[in-house]
């Protein structure tokens, strides 16, 4: 395989893994539920999207055929991540999940 293409695949893969790990670290160490919500919706989505892209390029380079399933996975992840975050935030506000002491402003539930 072309060495430049190989480097692109490797960089995309490792940066995707790093983003996924950052999302998980955020989920594990942030202080309250609402701030924990940020890490998986942004970092993990981008991380897995990057791994998907690297898999797509890898199979297109090795087989020479179009690899479109990964594109579908990526689009689906990016479309659904904000929706599930929104549903979880609504559920948490309904259950009055504790917010951190230093939070500015209030959650309203109606």
């Amino acid at each position: 395989m072309n060495p430049i293409l190989e480097a692109v695949i490797a960089v995309l893969m490792v940066s995707g893994g790093a983003f996924t790990l950052a999302g998980a670290i955020g989920l594990a160490r942030l202080q309250d539920f609402y701030s924990r919500l940020h890490a998986p919706t942004k970092a993990t989505t981008v991380g897995v999207g990057s791994i998907t892209l690297s898999s797509m390029i890898y199979f297109m380079a090795t087989t020479g055929a179009l690899a479109l399933n990964e594109g579908l996975i990526m689009v689906f992840l990016f479309l659904t991540a904000p929706i599930s975050a929104n549903m979880l935030a609504k559920a948490a506000m309904h259950l009055r999940v504790q917010q951190a002491e230093n939070t500015k402003g209030q959650a309203w539930d109606q």
């Binding site: 190989e6 490792v14 893994g17 998980a24 924990r36 993990t44 897995v48 791994i51 890898y58 259950l95």
Partner: protein, 89 residues
């Protein structure tokens, strides 16, 4: 080069899975656990894709697609259950 990158990435995603399981066990509230389950399903997609690259086969890509769909539906159903007390009204 890809082989080394693959090993590094699998280690990082596995660490992410371990941290997600920590949050799943610790909680403290139900939304936290659902969020951890959602992240676990997304990490499972990443692991399946990495498996596909490492054995050079596209056999498992469709299961990754199914996990993406089912993980989303599961998260939405659980969140809706917490908010309303029922999934389908």
């Amino acid at each position: 080069m890809i082989a080394i990158a693959l090993k590094i990435t699998i280690v990082m995603v596995s660490l992410a899975v371990a941290l997600n399981v920590y949050r799943l066990v610790k909680g403290p509230d139900a939304p936290d656990r659902i969020l951890a389950l959602d992240s676990l399903s997304i990490n499972a997609i990443a692991l399946i894709l990495l498996l596909g690259i490492s054995i050079n086969s596209r056999l498992y890509i469709e299961s990754a697609l199914l996990i993406a769909v089912m993980g989303f539906i599961g998260t939405v159903a659980l969140a809706k259950y917490l908010k309303r007390g029922s999934v389908i009204e």
